[in-house]
Symmetry: C2
Subunit: 310 residues, 2 copies
């Protein structure tokens, strides 16, 4: 990594929603490539570059494998979603690899969604906003963060904890995907609890919907988005109804068992109203490019069919 | 930072709860020094070391100021709590500074609580566990994470998302503090929602209590802990009743308006049953050592008074 760091995002002043819409049309794709590198597993096997330190070697392998995935699968996708946990566990070299991956994804014309599910009290949330999509003011000049185009966030701590994240996204013309109904089986434990007859995830959805204007693009969709798991498609119709403008980020397709055909409802407002993310099903495929292309085709068809109506 | 990285925690096989209990007795302190560095603000003003890159310079200032705080205020404390957002916003050099701070805190005899409020689907949660207190297996050898003694986590995603975090803590004899009732005003939005007449934070408390055995120390307290804000002491009594063994991490004292005198109830099970964290009120004091010592005295007195009964 160079010592000095400049924002890697091109000077594109359009909103996240509009940048995404343009890319979706251009590539006829709504696929987001999840990057969850496991050091040593293909394609993160690394080279024989002779680094002695396991940590530096693992970070190098994670970087090289991710760049390979971006090169092979990227053309069928519109975004990449690095899972921050997988970089954090490699410490400072892992974070440096993450920064290089953000730059490479941008160079390949892809949007970057930093998947860290951050959330904290307002002062700390402001720092997370700076880390993900903004910059930190210092006496020595501004320090650019990850320069992601959007990031995932956890809404448990309430309205004042969301505000600085949205403000950071506003300044950066970025997006924020709040967890609304996640794809893991345990999601039911808290997110499906019933509050006066309504599940918590619906209340979160209403909160997301109420904030839509803050990051609304010219096409009406909003970068105040929502993470909605694709493993239980039954929720999608209702959540789309509650969040008519929110761009949805849909994990759980592929390795976790969700099917592209089942998430059509998410696309009701338009072809760029949702992103389907896939990680392992692309990374571990014999031909990641073909796997991504196949997913692109099925999601595109499902989205088009849903909009055409029954 | 050296290229190679070894675990900085001493080979202490006792549980987090037991290590904390011993330190609390030894130092007669239940104070946790929050490290929320703001580059350029005292004591994070940096030196004139002539680094050209603003980011490297900011990371150096953050490191130097934090080491100064540990030196001055550390003796009155038993733990430090770095706010991860403040390091992430400085990228890879920020993370390297964080790693150096963990080592320095351990060298000063302090426990480290990594405050990142992490939480994710099981596979990613496992990586967060490795990042915070564990190590990542790679073909080139294990890669040690932050080597914190405990970390904060967000329980929104439910039981299966907590499991890998607790498993990582078990392997490392570490602790996990789950968000139960935070100190920000917006905490009421979700955590106080009523589910069949009971607030969500009480349901989360029961979940924490049910896991106590997993990280229970020999003194009966558990490292499956809870973050409970000190700004609304009315909750403390009830939450202590629901979580009789959980070590509580109590932010909000000092700059956020909470008072040490009001949190006595948290200490009902014993002197090491809670940690009171303070960041700005110590860091921005003219004499951080005196400020920490004053807080140590008032918390110690409040805890003793609560246990003596009315």
């Amino acid at each position: 990594m160079p010592a000095s760091r400049a924002p890697s995002r091109a000077a594109d002043v359009r909103s996240f929603a509009d940048r995404l819409a343009a890319l979706v049309e251009e590539r006829r794709s709504q696929v987001c490539l999840g990057l969850d590198p496991v050091p040593g597993d293909p394609p993160w096997t690394g080279s024989d570059r002779g680094l002695a330190d396991p940590r530096a070697r693992a970070a190098q392998a994670v970087l090289a494998g991710s760049l390979e995935l971006i090169e092979r699968a990227g053309p069928s996708c519109v975004a990449v979603k690095p899972q921050l946990a997988r970089f954090e566990c490699l410490g400072a070299p892992g974070w440096a690899a993450l920064e290089a991956i953000v730059g490479a994804a941008h160079a390949a014309g892809l949007l970057v969604i930093a998947d860290g599910k951050r959330g904290d009290v307002p002062l700390s949330a402001a720092a997370y906003g700076e880390a993900m999509v903004g910059s930190t003011t210092t006496p020595w000049g501004p320090v650019c963060g990850l320069a992601a185009d959007a990031f995932t966030a956890n809404p448990l701590m309430g309205g004042d904890s969301l505000e600085p994240l949205i403000a950071a996204a506003e300044r950066a013309a970025a997006g924020v995907f709040f967890l609304v109904r996640t794809s893991n089986p345990g999601a039911a434990d808290v997110l499906d609890l019933s509050v006066e007859g309504r599940p918590v995830h619906e209340l979160l959805a209403e909160r997301v919907a109420a904030l839509a204007a803050r990051l609304r693009g010219s096409g009406g969709l909003s970068g105040v988005g929502a993470v909605v798991g694709g493993t239980e498609p039954g929720f999608l119709d209702r959540l789309r109804e509650l969040m008519p403008e929110a761009i949805m980020l849909i994990p759980g397709i592929g390795a976790q068992g969700g099917k592209a055909e089942d998430v059509g409802a998410a696309f009701a407002p338009g072809p760029s109203a949702a992103l389907v993310t896939a990680s392992r099903s692309i990374a571990t495929a014999g031909d990641p490019g073909a796997a991504a292309e196949q997913l692109r085709e099925s999601v595109w068809a499902a989205a088009a069919a849903a909009r055409a109506g029954p």
